[in-house]
């Protein structure tokens, strides 16, 4: 692909959760080594409970790994940083602030005029014009998720971490949000790490899809998605990539992989 520099480098990450006093500890994942290039869109898929969210929390600096380290632009991560913004599965916008106040949260140190310009720009970008003074409880799930994306973008971070951000949305909203995310990403060229359990979603979005195994999880395979955008969900290549991921994940389902023995084409 391109010769962009390495943005995120995971070096032999491992994570064990201590059991709560009863001596049992949980080995979540081990030997996770991965590189993401600047501006790359990487999706991480895997069965539920495989530690995808924990992995993303570690990369973002919210949680400390028990082994290995996370390097960003070559230096180790010691905590969260406003240059890399996390978008939460449970929706992390503040219900006590209006849409405008939420979006401006990351740039409160700037001049009032600059804030207003940025807020207006991103409110328009995510299609929430006219909702600036609304409170999150007055918005639909899709709109709230857009507020969070706008809040993340407004402080102009290099990296976005997205943890199943569209998981709680209905089918059509989800499709539209994916399309909007891609157009934003193409414009703003952020590096994106996107966790999902939805294989379709991963193939629609990613440059590369990282497939994790069950706990204790390792990276089973990394699949390049060399498909032009916008992606044609009916193209043979798309289905081929999707099946490859299913296969990689299917190996986890005690050999009952659905696509393992698909009939040979006529």
């Amino acid at each position: 692909m391109t010769t962009a520099s390495i943005k995120i480098h995971l070096r032999d990450l491992g994570m064990t959760f201590d059991g709560k006093g009863n001596g049992t500890s949980i080995r979540v994942f081990e030997r996770i080594t991965l590189e993401a290039r600047e501006g790359e869109f990487v999706c991480i898929v895997g069965p539920s409970g495989c530690g995808k969210t924990t992995l993303l929390n570690i990369i973002a600096g919210f949680v400390k790994a028990t082994e290995g380290d996370v390097l960003i632009d070559g230096s180790p991560v010691h905590g969260p940083d406003r240059r890399r913004v996390f978008i939460f599965q449970e929706c992390g916008i503040f219900p006590w602030l209006t849409v405008e106040q939420n979006i401006g949260f990351g740039i409160m140190d700037r001049s009032r005029r600059e804030q207003k310009e940025h807020i207006d720009h991103y409110i328009t970008m995510v299609g929430l014009t006219g909702f600036g003074n609304a409170y999150p409880s007055e918005l639909s799930g899709g709109m709230r998720q857009r507020v969070e994306i706008a809040r993340a973008l407004v402080s102009n971070p290099d990296v976005l971490y997205m943890d199943e951000p569209f998981g709680a949305l209905d089918y059509f909203t989800r499709l539209r949000m994916r399309a909007e995310l891609i157009s934003i990403w193409e414009r703003e060229k952020k590096t994106i790490l996107f966790v999902t359990h939805d294989v379709e979603e991963a193939v629609q979005l990613a440059d590369r899809v990282v497939v994790m195994s069950r706990r204790p999880a390792t990276i089973r395979t990394v699949i390049d998605v060399r498909l032009p955008r916008p992606r044609d969900l009916d193209s043979l290549h798309y289905i081929e990539v999707r099946n490859k991921i299913f296969e990689a994940m299917g190996l986890d389902h005690s050999g009952l992989g659905v696509h393992e023995k698909s009939p040979a084409p006529l």
Binding site: F62, P80, R84, F86, E90, F94, W96, Y135, S137
Partner: protein, 256 residues
Amino acid sequence: MKKRLEVLLLPLLVVFLFVSVWHIAVKVSGSEIFPTPVEAIAGIAELFRYGVLFKYIVASLFRVSIGFLLALIIGIPAGLLIGWFSRAFYAFNPIIQVLRPISPIAWIPVAILWFGLSDLAPIFLIFLSSLFPILTATMAAVQNIQLVYLRAASNFGVRGLALFKKIILPATMPQIITGVRLALGVAWLVVVAAEMIAVNSGLGYLIIDARNAGKRYDLVVAGMILIGAIGLCLDLLIRRLQRLDEVRWGFQSMMQ
């Protein structure tokens, strides 16, 4: 439309029934002492003519305001700190849990010993009785803050005092308001009890004085009606807080 009519008429009907049963019961029993509803209302009018009605109401409200305000000023910041810093929690929680279940009424002799028969005694009792609901509600609220809000805040570099101001306080405000509402209810209960013993003004004093000085039960019941009505007004006032934009989110499920 039909629903609104029901909401209005049904409670009125129940009140009417209650008052009727009260009236009939007094008449049937032939009690000379216990007032009928009409006599109780006449009692309120009499208090007004004597010029003690507003004086006593103001005296009670004054004591509640001061004690309650002190409890707010101390309880909310202390609750935020104890809820947030685990060391403070380990240190203070046990003593709070021991003091909390002691009825404010049990403190009356102590309050009289310390403050004498002055306004300070009931103010102290109201402070105590409203402090614990506010303190414990605030502590619990801080400990229940959703992790995503704290993570989002740390992601944007918010920490220290700004974290308290921008995240912890607003995130806990709905639960704090619930505690404050509870505390005001308790404070209003306690002021009446305290005034029966420690002072010679206020609605509690009115009740005990009316009984002692000539078995004026019409004035006793008049006092009770006033206490109920003012308590309701105080609660309605506090409930308005729940409708503020900044905290409405915390009460949404209750309102649906």
